[in-house]
């Protein structure tokens, strides 16, 4: 997994690529939490380059979501493939995470 962070109209977009598993999720957690510790009001995760996510990856995002909610921040997901969508649905997290179709929706909503 690799992570790049881009800035779109003042909003940080975290773009992980490759497999998110027990090996790589600690790295993801580090990047995610270091942004959240700055209390960013919105944070977008773009999944379009994510080839795989396991429960440790999902747990990382649940943790991030809870940390952001604590100060009223919003964690937004983008580029969710059908395969990942299915795992979110199954885990009953599709209702918990905010999932958007386009970057504009994610920014403006």
């Amino acid at each position: 997994m690799e992570i790049i962070i881009i800035d779109i109209r003042g909003i940080k977009v975290l773009v992980p690529s490759g497999d998110i598993d027990m090996y790589t999720s600690p790295e993801l957690r580090k990047e995610l939490m270091s942004l959240i510790h700055k209390k960013v009001s919105s944070l977008i995760i773009d999944f379009k380059e994510v080839s795989y996510i396991d429960s440790s990856g999902i747990a990382t995002f649940v943790e991030g979501l809870k940390a952001m909610r604590a100060y009223g921040g919003r964690l937004k997901f983008l580029g969710i493939s059908n395969g990942i969508r299915e795992i979110f649905n199954f885990s009953k997290l599709d209702k918990v995470f905010e999932i958007f179709k386009t970057i504009d929706d994610a920014i403006n909503n």
């Binding site: 027990m22 429960s55 440790s56 009953k92």
Partner: protein, 136 residues
């Protein structure tokens, strides 16, 4: 054991990618329908992650053995470790209605496999038996 394919890895998370690769190829050979291959891959990965986290408490220099076999009624995977014994009840898993990190693994394993059972005859360590039936 001669019709089994076996992969043995050190209990370090960096080797999970190998287990996933072998799982996918074996699932393909077994004739599992395409859509289910990703589920099976995730399930076997989750089971091995659990071995590292729970049975070996994060120790990365132990051994995990994963055995695969194509059987007439489907696809069988056995995961063996020499770590702490899991209590068989854990196979229940927590409720998914609660939003919290952790506790998803068992559910993802049971989503992909029809039979999920610890071999209770095993004296030391764990032997998790996973079987997926061929769907008609």
């Amino acid at each position: 054991m001669k019709d089994w394919t076996i992969i043995a890895i050190p209990s370090h998370p960096k080797y999970l990618v190998l287990v996933r690769a072998v799982t996918v190829k074996m699932a393909e050979l077994s004739g599992i329908v395409d859509g289910a291959i990703e589920d099976v891959k995730l399930a076997v990965d989750e089971a091995c992650s659990n071995v590292i986290k729970h049975a070996y408490r994060g120790e990365t220099d132990k051994k995990i053995v994963v055995k695969f076999r194509i059987i007439r009624k489907g696809f069988e995977v056995i995961i063996e470790d020499k770590g702490l014994k899991a209590s068989p009840e854990l196979i229940e898993g927590r409720s998914l209605n609660e939003v919290r990190p952790g506790g998803l693994g068992i559910h993802l394993i049971k989503r992909a496999f029809d039979i999920v059972a610890f071999d209770e005859k095993r004296k030391k360590g764990n032997r998790l038996i996973l079987i997926r039936f061929r769907k008609k």
